[in-house]
Structures are given as C-alpha cells and as structure tokens.
C-alpha cells in the first residue's frame, strides 16, 4: 500500500497553509515531518488523514482516489501532543475502544490489547484509569490505542513534546522498533532535528508550507538541497559565511582569504554562501587545508562532556561544539579552524551548489 499526495494544497482564510505538494509514502516506513512551528506539519497531516479536504490536488491510497473521503472511512489513527484518553475508562478499555467500535470479537480484542500493552510497557497498569498514570504512561496508552487499530496510516503529531526529556529519549528509541513491526505508514511530526535523526526512516523538511526535501533521514541531514533545509535540519544551528570565489582564492570577511581547497576548488568565480555545522568547527588546526577564522568569544556553555562556543565573526553569530571542557576567556578573540571537506556551498538563491565532500564520499 502507498499514500500518494499529488499537487495537494490548502488555503484557509486567504492564507496558504500548504503550497501544492507531491509526496509518496510506502507501507512499513517511518516518515518524519521536520520543521518549526507553523511550517505546515499539522496541516499536511490533516490532509493525509482526510480531516481537511485539499483546495487542489488529489490523495491516493493504495492507488485509489480517496480525496474527499471521510476520515472515519479511511483507516487512520492519530496521536496528538496532548495525551487524549477517556478518563472514565480503564487503560484496558481505552486501548480496546477502537476495536470495539469496529465490532471485533472479544478474543481478538483481548489478544491485541495485551500485545500492545506489552509493547508499551503498560501490562501492569491495564486496570488503572489514565489519570492515575504518569504523563509518559498516559501517552503510551494513547500510542497503544493507535497501534491496536491496525490502521494503514498512523499520524503522530509531536507525540512526545509534553513529556520529560529522559522519557522522550526512551520512547524515541522504542517507537521505531515497535512501528517497524506493524507494517503501517507512519508519519511523525516534530520541531526537533535530534528527534528526526533518532527516529531514522525518511524525513521531509518543511518550511513555510512547503516540503523542501524528502529522502532518507541521514541523506537529508548530510546532503541538504538548499540552505533552508540545512537550517531546518541543524540543532545547534548551522553557521553561515558569505564568500567570494576568485581564482585560486576564497575571499570573505573584511579582506580575508583562504586557498580554494575542497569543494571550493571546482566552483566558478562568484558570490556564494558557505555553511558548516557547529561540531565541525575545531579549536586546533587538524589538516593543512583548514580554513582559519578569528572572532570574539561571547559565551561558552560547558555541558560536562562538550563545550559550546558562541562566537561573533564579523557580525555573524556562530556556534562551535568541541569535545571536552574548555575554559576560555569570554570577550577575547578566539581562532577556530574548519576543514573544507565539512563545508556546504549554496548559491545566491540558497540552492546547494556543492554538498560537503565528507558526506558524499561516505
């Protein structure tokens, strides 16, 4: 089975929430919609579910046109950021409720409920009411209900956003394992790049009502098609630098230059934006090809295992992430190094001109 969106768009109150979008998702896959608040993740999910009818375009389910078909007739399960359970029912009844609506037999229901409860570590809590559970358990109850429904399409809209950090980390690791077995199409919306990476599968990055890229998650992360995608898929944020390629040199800042190594070597002369991730900035020169920058150190943040350095490089705010604890003088100049193999090059319109060579070599 597959879900195909063909040129679907959504306009509400004169405002375009989703620009015409094409997307194809297949069974047994985890698909992450990654983007900031209001980038269109929920709007797109509502179109997939049939909660909203698109203004243009069509939705196909297993080759059949389902545009305009009611959500009840589609076999869709949804889990929202807010845990939604029936407070007066036990956990068992909550999980069983969608199957009861479908009129399945007692034995079928019991087997499915117990299996889902086991996967979600709720077996001990089946007789309790949702409000007697912790937040994490309540959300697992909602997830278990989505699982037993055996829906072809399961939509998870920031399901872990209201949970404690540590619980989130554990559920993130479990969710892909659980859903891999189920064979449905999973769509998972999140604002957090780290979550997309941990979930794996495929990622569609979203920005202002558009999908900017859709591919395997590590591919989108390492080979973004444009600067917007790179920005959406970086936390801490990607650093940018305006550069001019001139012959054998790359010029930047106020009269600084570096030899045009790596991806820079093959570029036509002209103006570009270079992008690089914080963890690729180094405090010591690793190779002879490394570019060198000096900025002012504004803030350091020491996490115990790593140090974030916040740098003002000629008015551009940069972040570097280095291993270990570094006690550096705030307000002083700091020199950082960058291996050209970690540099992404974007054209004037933001389109990728050259992906970082370390990413394409692997």
């Amino acid at each position: 089975m597959s879900l195909v969106l063909e040129g679907v768009s959504k306009i509400m109150g004169g405002e375009t929430h989703i620009h015409p979008t094409d997307l194809e998702l297949s069974s047994g896959t985890m698909n992450v919609l990654l983007g900031p608040t209001s980038s269109g993740k929920t709007s797109l999910m509502r179109l997939m579910a049939g909660l909203d009818v698109p203004n243009t375009g069509k939705v196909f389910w297993g080759g059949k046109d389902v545009t305009g078909m009611r959500v009840q007739d589609r076999g869709v399960a949804m889990v929202y950021q807010q845990f939604i359970n029936y407070p007066s029912m036990t956990v068992y009844e909550n999980i069983a409720s969608p199957m009861r609506l479908l009129g399945q037999s007692k034995a079928e229901i019991d087997a499915a409920v117990r299996k889902a409860a086991d996967l979600m570590k709720l077996s001990e809590m089946l007789d309790r009411k949702p409000l007697e559970l912790s937040g994490g358990q309540q959300q697992r109850c909602a997830l278990a209900r989505a699982l037993v429904k055996d829906a072809g399409l399961v939509l998870l809209d920031e399901p872990l956003a209201n949970l404690d950090y540590k619980l989130r980390e554990e559920l993130r690791a479990e969710i892909p394992k659980i859903f891999e077995e189920a064979g449905s199409i999973f769509v998972y919306a999140t604002t957090e790049p780290e979550e997309a990476l941990l979930l794996g599968g495929n990622t569609a990055t979203m920005w202002e009502g558009r999908i900017t890229q859709f591919d395997k998650t590590p591919t989108v992360y390492r080979q973004p098609v444009d600067a917007t995608t790179a920005r959406v898929f970086s936390d801490p944020p990607m650093n940018f630098l305006s550069v001019r390629k001139a012959g054998e040199r790359v010029e930047f800042g106020e009269g600084q230059a570096a030899p045009a190594y790596g991806a820079f070597a093959g570029l036509a002369d002209g103006d570009y934006t270079a992008g690089f991730r914080p963890n690729h900035l180094e405090l010591a020169k690793q190779t002879g090809d490394s570019m060198q920058f000096t900025g002012t150190l504004n803030v350091t943040e020491i996490t115990g295992s790593e140090t974030f350095v916040h740098l003002d490089h000629h008015g551009e705010a940069w972040v570097g992430l280095v291993h270990g604890v570094r006690n550096l003088e705030i307000g002083s100049p700091l020199t950082v190094y960058l291996d050209p193999k970690h540099v992404y090059i974007f054209g004037q319109d933001g389109t990728s001109v050259a992906a970082a060579s370390y990413a394409t070599a692997a």
Partner: protein, 361 residues
C-alpha cells in the same frame, strides 16, 4: 542580590506526615551563593517545583527556614521577597506596548519616570527588542513574548534573585539557542543570582554554574556539569544526565579489577571492600568497540546515526550497553568486544558512588 539559605528545609503536602515517604521535599540544607547561576534538574514530581515555590513564597514549608542574606523570610509574603519569576508560558499584557510591559514592575513601585525611561531602554537593548518597543505585545511570536517576560524579570535592579520555571518549554529549538545564550550573557554581565528549573539536561548543563539534580524529593548531587558527567555520585545522575545515560552493570571487586559477568576489567585503582550491591558505571562516551579478547564480549544490535555521532546499541549477556562512536566511524559487524577507558569508570555500592582509594574527598 542576596545569598539564599535553606535551613533544615522540608515540605510535605500532608497535614500529618508520618515518614520520609510523605515528604515531597526531604530535609535540605543549602546556601545559594550570591551571583551564581543554578539549575534544578529532575523529572516531573521530583520536588523541584516545590522547592522553587518555597523560595518564591508561593508555598510555606512545613519544616525549616529560608533566609535571604541571613534574614528569616520563611513566612514573608512573595511581594516582600523581591524575587522576579519567569514562567513556562509568557505572561505579558497583550494590549500594552512592549515598552509599557517592561516598565510595569517599575511603575507599580512608583519609580521616577525619567529613571523608568532609561532603564526600559537598557533592558530593551539587553533583550534585543529596541526596535519593537512601541509595538503592542499582541501579535508577537511566543519567543518574543518570552523575551519580554525575561526582560521584565530583570528590569528591577533591587531583586534578590531571578527564578525561571521551565522558561523555554514552548520555544522552538532554534530560538531556544538564542534565548539561552542571551540569558547566559546577561548573567555573565550583570551577575544576578539565578535559579532555573528544568527537566531538560541540555538546558540545565549549558545554563548553570552548578546543577542540582533532584530525585524523589532529594538532592542526589550538586556539582558543575563536568562533575556530573565524570563522577556521577548516584546511578540516577549517571542515567539522567547524558544521552544515552551511563551504562550500569553488576560487578564484583577484586583489588584493582572488577569482575563483570565472568570478565576481568582493569580499573587502574582500588576501591577497598564496600558493602552492598556493587555496580560498575561507565558512560557511552568512555566506551569503545574492539575486536579480540579485551573487555567484554558483546553483539551489536543496532547502529543509530544521530548526525554528529553514532549510538551503537550492543547486547552484553542480556543487558543493553550503549557506545558512542564518531560521525564517520566504520562500525564493522566483526567488532565483538567493548573496552572501557578506566578514567571514565565509576564504582557504585547500593547506587552511591564509591570513591577510589586515595581520591581526595
């Protein structure tokens, strides 16, 4: 700004607590040093909000005292404590301009208009909102509104402390960076005493000079981020801080070796003969994959590419052990052992860290 002292402080929400288990906050003695930035870190229900509410005066403790610069404030109302608080959701007056929102605490206290104008301008510069001073708060984004809340918290120069209760929860990841960095520079520049409550380890570790880790109503460790990372005093700290948390496995001690599931691991130092259940704890950052017969035998179950590094999930005699490998590392299926960096190994007895012999206390 002031030093804040917690003296034999404890709190139970029950009228007649009968044992330790009835206390949401177990007995605590502590000085919050003037001008330091602290984070209170723990899961929901660990007592961190109870503690914050006692400091701000929203809650009166059932036991003990709270002192500001050695003056007993235990029963003083919130208004007398001169504390500024920033909450999870921005609290701003939508119909007022940004300027009036920032000026509000000063006008309330009848400050001189000339002073108010100068001070508001200063604060607006600090939070980078000078250009929006005359805009109405209505229609601003959540992070802009939260910036106003932060600014209003800092507008009075006579506050004893600034308390933050999960202030970045509703903010998108990219803006979180900006706000947190701003807060950190403001602390560096102005030296307010700050107490920041969160369940998010990244926020706690990056913001604070000292992190107070709470678990089940108790402070299990207070230390610098480096101390929490390198020498977690309790297995809970090892688990709660770090992604993934510390690997913990049952062990026996034999001089300067640990025996783990029949394998001898060199520790490089002795730990004496501590009583109780002995465990070895080692963070994924101090764990590496290997081949041959060193370390522990494992089977690789799964490799997760999380961008700037890889998380390898391995099975050791039915226990999951996590290893962090470099972004470009080649994880060959032939790797069948894990080895530990002895500098990153800690030994626990009944969940509390045992200091190696000769470690200065």
């Amino acid at each position: 700004m002031a030093k804040i002292t917690l003296d034999n402080l404890a709190h139970s929400y029950l009228p007649k607590p009968s044992g330790e288990a009835d206390y949401a906050l177990k007995e605590l003695n502590h000085d919050w040093i003037d001008g330091e930035a602290y984070a209170l870190l723990g899961a929901s229900g660990c007592g961190k909000s109870t503690l914050l509410n006692i400091i701000s005066g929203l809650l009166h403790p059932s036991q003990g005292r709270i002192l500001f610069d050695d003056k007993d404030m235990t029963h003083a109302p919130t208004t007398e404590r001169n504390i500024a608080q920033v909450f999870q959701f921005p609290v701003v007056y939508d119909t007022m301009s940004v300027r009036d929102n920032l000026a509000f605490p000063l006008r309330n206290r009848g400050a001189d208009p000339g002073y108010i104008a100068t001070r508001v301008q200063q604060i607006a510069q600090m939070i980078d909102m000078e250009a929006q001073l005359d805009h109405k708060a209505r229609g601003l984004t959540a992070d802009a509104k939260q910036k106003i809340s932060l600014g209003r918290g800092m507008v009075r120069e006579d506050v004893n402390a600034l308390l933050f209760d999960e202030p970045l929860t509703v903010i998108d990841p990219h803006m979180k960076w900006e706000l947190r960095t701003q807060l950190k520079s403001l602390h560096h520049e102005f030296g307010h005493t700050m107490i920041y409550v969160t369940h998010d380890q990244t926020e706690a570790l990056t913001f604070a000079d000292k992190v107070v880790v709470m678990y089940d109503g108790r402070v299990v460790q207070m230390g610098t981020p480096q101390e929490l990372f390198e020498t977690p005093q309790h297995t809970f700290v090892g688990y709660f801080i770090g992604s993934p948390g510390m690997n913990v496995m049952e062990a026996q001690l034999e001089g300067d070796h640990a025996i783990v599931g029949g394998n001898r691991i060199a520790l490089g130092q002795g730990f004496g003969t501590p009583k109780g259940k002995i465990e070895l704890g080692v963070r994924p950052e101090f764990t590496a994959l290997a081949q041959g017969d060193a370390g522990l035998p494992i089977r690789i179950k799964r490799v997760e590419d999380v961008g700037r590094h890889k998380i390898v999930r391995a099975d050791f005699q039915g226990t999951e052990i996590n290893v962090i490998a470099e972004e470009g590392a080649d994880i060959s299926p032939d790797l069948n052992r894990i080895v530990f960096d002895p500098a990153g190994v800690n030994i626990y007895a009944d969940s509390w860290r045992v200091a190696p012999l000769g470690e200065p206390s």
